[in-house]
């Protein structure tokens, strides 16, 4: 789905047949574009004490303000070294990431050498383009070294998943201009204004002439969010809702026959609505906008999902709701003090894997990153991951601490059956996070007794055996560091 460099999709014929756009539009734009080369390093989840493999990839960026470059988050993810190149300038400029928003795949770069911006002009942001109107895509895709321009029309505007984080969906515009690896981060222009940032597409064997760009409402939201110096992420109501189309449903909930109101099915206890909304409430209006029985509302002339309202909010804002609770109308104000606190279900970047090594047993918190590296057989792990939010697994296990692997040693010869187990208790203390596991295992005790979720036997390690094995395991497997725990990366 995602456009990354060096995955050749279709050949360059369509790409190279760039059309000559009107000269007035083209020249200032060319100067304000940059090819971004990223030398990145993937985290190593199998042996987290070792650095991961390095890779190089490239994408496109453009001047968004007098001294900043905008691009996709995935172009600069896990970067160790970033360089920028401009057309007709032999120099390579060293850049660094100032802000990155993985949930909407956007990033802002700074350039060390201010001379980069000599002769560049920030590109202006436009609005949402009309369906069927023409747009041009600028960038440095595969198939050549120089700037490429392709042209197409706006095919549709829709709420779509963003492949980079894997769990977020925002407004997306589909265009039929060729978008290829390397185009990522490049501007899509109409009448001299940026109307989107090319960011993802399909590989040629899935669908053709389908490219997606991030539209300007998402870009503007990102720019406003970081205007105070930090990115606070999207706000989310963290509730599940259900339609009230059925007449009996409306009658049972005490609703009028006006096709209004969406039923609040569940309220996540870690979300912002907890304490303000209750399962069983009916939301009649949000910020004064009436909510229809299918959960949509009209926002700026478009019928959109109710969640869109929260999409446009920032940390510290609030949402006003008119609700029906126990058949009584009331108004509630839901403050938005923070984004959803758990990140383990999203693809994560620029994080070092947390781990704990004890007696040759490797403990790691369950995450999407871990699951994409290691193939687990234990169905319980899959269940805990999938049910993490809907079944509120996070209440008992804000981190799901998994015994992922063994560094084979006489101390753990008989412990194979515990692989992929979820730690529940160590020496009688309940374990909710990797940090707690580390603390429990650092308290001296004759035996370390680890209980796992389920009905198996406890895992028992004898202190003397652990101590005797420690150096042996470190030497044999080249472990420089026995744990890395950064609780902020949950």
């Amino acid at each position: 789905m995602e456009i990354r460099c060096l995955t050749p999709l279709f050949l360059a014929v369509t790409l190279l047949s760039t059309q000559s756009s009107d000269a007035a539009e083209r020249s200032p734009i060319r100067k304000s574009l940059a090819r971004i080369s990223n030398t990145s390093q993937e985290p190593n989840y199998r042996q987290p004490w070792l650095p991961g493999t390095t890779m190089s990839s490239s994408g496109t960026g453009w001047v968004v303000s007098k001294d900043r470059i905008l691009t996709n988050a995935h172009v600069v993810s896990n970067a160790r070294f970033l360089t920028l190149e401009k057309e007709n300038d032999p120099k390579k400029y060293i850049a660094e990431v100032e802000h990155v928003a993985h949930d909407c795949d956007l990033a802002i770069l700074k350039v060390q050498d201010a001379s980069f911006f000599q002769g560049t002009e920030p590109l202006d942001l436009g609005n949402i383009p009309e369906i069927e109107s023409e747009v041009s895509v600028y960038g440095y895709p595969i198939g050549g070294d120089r700037l490429s321009v392709t042209r197409g029309v706006v095919s549709r505007i829709d709420f779509r998943p963003y492949a980079h984080s894997g769990i977020d969906s925002h407004l997306t515009i589909q265009i039929d201009a060729a978008i290829n690896p390397g185009n990522s981060g490049g501007p899509v222009l109409q009448k001299g204004r940026v109307v989107g940032v090319a960011f993802q597409g399909f590989s040629g064997d899935v669908a053709q002439n389908v490219g997606y760009m991030i539209p300007t409402p998402v870009i503007r939201r990102f720019l406003s969010d970081i205007s105070d110096g930090t990115y606070d992420r999207y706000m989310d109501l963290s509730i599940t809702t259900y339609n009230t189309l059925n007449p009996a449903m409306r009658q049972g909930l005490g609703l009028e026959r006006d096709d209004r109101g969406v039923f609040v099915s569940n309220v996540a206890s870690a979300g912002v609505c907890f304490g303000h909304l209750k399962a069983g409430d009916v939301i009649l209006a949000v910020d004064g906008l009436p909510v229809a029985s299918d959960g949509t509302l009209e926002l700026e002339g478009e019928r959109v999902q109710m969640a869109e309202v929260a999409e446009r909010k920032f940390k510290g804002d609030s949402v006003r709701m008119s609700i029906l609770r126990d058949q009584k109308k009331m108004d509630v104000t839901v403050p938005l003090p923070n984004a959803w606190p758990f990140q383990m279900q999203a693809n994560q970047f620029d994080v070092q894997p947390n781990y704990l090594l004890f007696g040759g047993l490797l403990f790691q918190p369950l995450s999407r990153n871990l699951l994409s590296t290691v193939q687990f057989q234990n169905p319980r792990l899959v269940y805990f991951f999938e049910a993490f939010v809907p079944k509120e697994i996070y209440k008992e296990h804000p981190e799901i601490v998994v015994l992922t692997n063994f560094l084979a040693d006489p101390i753990n010869t008989y412990l194979g059956e515990f692989k992929e187990g979820i730690v529940e208790e160590i020496n009688g203390s309940t374990i909710r996070t990797l940090q707690q596991a580390s603390e429990a295992l650092s308290k001296p005790s004759d035996f370390y007794v680890i209980k796992f979720v389920g009905n198996g036997r406890p895992l028992v390690l004898e202190r003397t055996a652990v101590e005797a094995a420690r150096e042996r395991i470190r030497d044999r497997y080249g472990v420089q560091q026995e744990q890395y725990i950064d609780a902020s990366a949950r």
């Binding site: 599940t240 189309l245 059925n246 009996a248 909930l253 389920g454």
Partner: protein, 506 residues
């Protein structure tokens, strides 16, 4: 246990295309030693072809059955004019026909006893004369190292023997999940004829076992040895049939020296750690507890891997000692170590019926229950239902339901007998807005907690304000259905979806 089932179905299709009756000189020339010509005719009197027509219920459309299919087995006549086959081949049977080996006589038969856990069944001909004058094969014990013959029949009724060596005797999983019994393993190359079930395994003209499964790739056959057959036959001689008893607890090995120290097992050898005791099960009644270490069962020392020393088969799993060497209600003496002190107890071993599970491990020969309310289809959760999601049901079935099925032994439910799920919606005027609902766990109807399908019609009597209030554990957590229209739509639902009935509550 999808693998053995797959192997069997592969055999069935292979049998359909294979050309009959061209016997291979090598396999046919190695008949069981006592079977010279005159004996052979007499011997074949005790062998019958069994053709089963089976029709299983479709658990995803519980009101209908699947298309019938045919299975062929070779039955062994047992003392008393009855025919021994595997349970798997008579599962969901609608018609069973016996045919003498020479093809001259045919007779309809019925299942007299069937035990899906030990995978054995006894058939009785509908009218007596068919097997009259047949002595029945005697049983003999197969030993590891024995040369055993597997009997098949050619289309003309001639026997085809394939001989191989018994390599192992081990407690393994039987076709029904969660059932493990002793199986013999035979290294034998079989050319399958049209019967793919219950091939007799012979030793010196006597029955040593019945084929459980055969893997053509590795030429390995697992068979049900006479130790298990004998238990089944003894149970079948009593009424009611009682089946193979269990202790009602789970164990784990204690080989790890660190674990042994922690459990204070320093001065002892062997023993297994009790990790779970089924509430109100035999072990619970005998006072066994989690973290006890089981050292001895019926006087036999248990080693740290959970094996005992069997007089015939050497080190094999204690499961054989408990299930096959004992009968329902036997009081089995056990010796335990509890916190380092020795304790003795008597466990009144007993079979756990599939009906006592929250999610039944198998539902065979039984129509699935269901209840349709205005197009909402309610059913009991069972593993049979989950298996409707295909051969990789363990990944394809809804996670929440899989999790309930998998972890049911971890949660003691005092009141909940069954998990009732909304499996699907047959869209009607009444269900507008609810068309996409499926596989939701039902919590309550009209405030009444649902512990069983029979609770559903009772709870529907308690509607208030003309609507039924239906709560689920999941999303949506609540829906309402109009009482009158749900009732009224019944006949038209039946008509448009071709439902023979709106519920089945057995």
């Amino acid at each position: 246990m999808s693998r053995p089932i797959l192997v069997l179905s592969a055999l069935v299709s292979a049998a359909l295309v294979s050309a009959p009756a061209i016997s291979d000189a090598k396999t046919a020339a190695a008949p069981d030693s006592v079977l010279n010509a005159p004996n052979q005719a007499q011997f074949l009197q005790n062998i019958v072809k069994v053709t089963v027509t089976a029709q299983a219920y479709d658990f995803s459309r519980p009101w209908s059955k699947r298309a019938p299919n045919a299975r062929r087995a070779i039955g062994t006549v047992i003392d008393g004019g009855r025919v021994l086959v595997t349970a798997e081949c008579v599962a969901n049977a609608t018609y069973i026909e016996l045919e003498s080996a020479d093809g001259e006589q045919k007779q309809a038969a019925r299942v007299e006893y069937v035990d899906y856990e030990s995978d054995l069944a006894l058939l009785r001909p509908e009218s007596a004369p068919f097997l009259a004058n047949k002595a029945g094969l005697k049983l003999t014990t197969p030993n590891v190292g024995d040369q055993l013959s597997v009997l098949q029949l050619e289309a003309n009724g001639n026997p085809l023997f394939s001989t191989g060596k018994m390599t192992t005797a081990e407690v393994v999983r039987y076709p029904i999940d969660d059932s493990s019994f002793l199986a013999g393993r035979l290294s034998v190359s079989l050319q399958m004829r049209d019967a793919a079930f219950a091939l007799p395994v012979l030793k010196e003209g006597k029955l040593a076992g019945v084929m459980l499964r055969y893997d053509a790739q590795s030429s390995i056959m697992d068979f049900i040895p006479t130790a298990v057959v004998d238990h089944f036959l003894r149970d079948a001689s009593k009424s009611p049939y009682e089946g193979f008893p269990r202790m009602g607890c789970s164990f784990s090995t204690t080989r790890d020296p660190q674990l042994r120290k922690y459990l204070k097992l320093n001065g002892t050898n062997g023993g297994v750690l009790v990790t779970q005791v089924l509430k109100d099960g035999p072990a619970d009644k005998a006072g066994l507890r989690k973290e006890d270490v089981l050292l001895e069962i019926a006087g036999e020392p248990i080693d740290s891997d959970g094996n005992y020393k069997d007089a015939t088969y050497g080190r094999i799993s204690l499961g054989h000692l408990v299930c096959t060497k004992h009968f329902e209600g036997d009081k089995v003496r056990v010796r335990l170590s509890r916190n380092g002190t020795s304790v003795e107890a008597e466990v009144p071993v007993s079979r756990r019926s599939p009906g006592s599970y929250l999610s039944e491990p198998y539902v065979i020969d039984k129509a699935p229950n269901f209840f349709i309310l205005g197009g909402l289809v309610f059913q009991e959760l069972s593993r049979q239902y989950l298996k409707e999601f295909g051969s990789d049901w363990q990944r394809k079935a809804p996670l929440e339901l899989l999790n309930i099925d998998r972890t049911q032994s971890e949660t003691d439910s005092e009141t909940r007998k069954r998990v009732i799920i909304l499996t699907r919606v047959l869209p009607s005027d009444v269900t507008v807005g609810y068309e996409d609902l499926r596989n939701l766990v039902l919590k309550s109807i009209n405030g009444e907690v649902i512990n069983d399908l029979s609770d559903v019609p009772k709870a529907l009597q308690k509607a208030a304000n003309g609507v039924h209030r239906i709560e689920f554990a999941g999303d949506p957590s609540l829906i309402f259905i109009d009482v009158k229209s749900a009732e009224a739509v019944g006949p038209s639902l039946q008509k448009s979806y071709g439902l023979p009935a709106l519920n089945r509550m057995n």
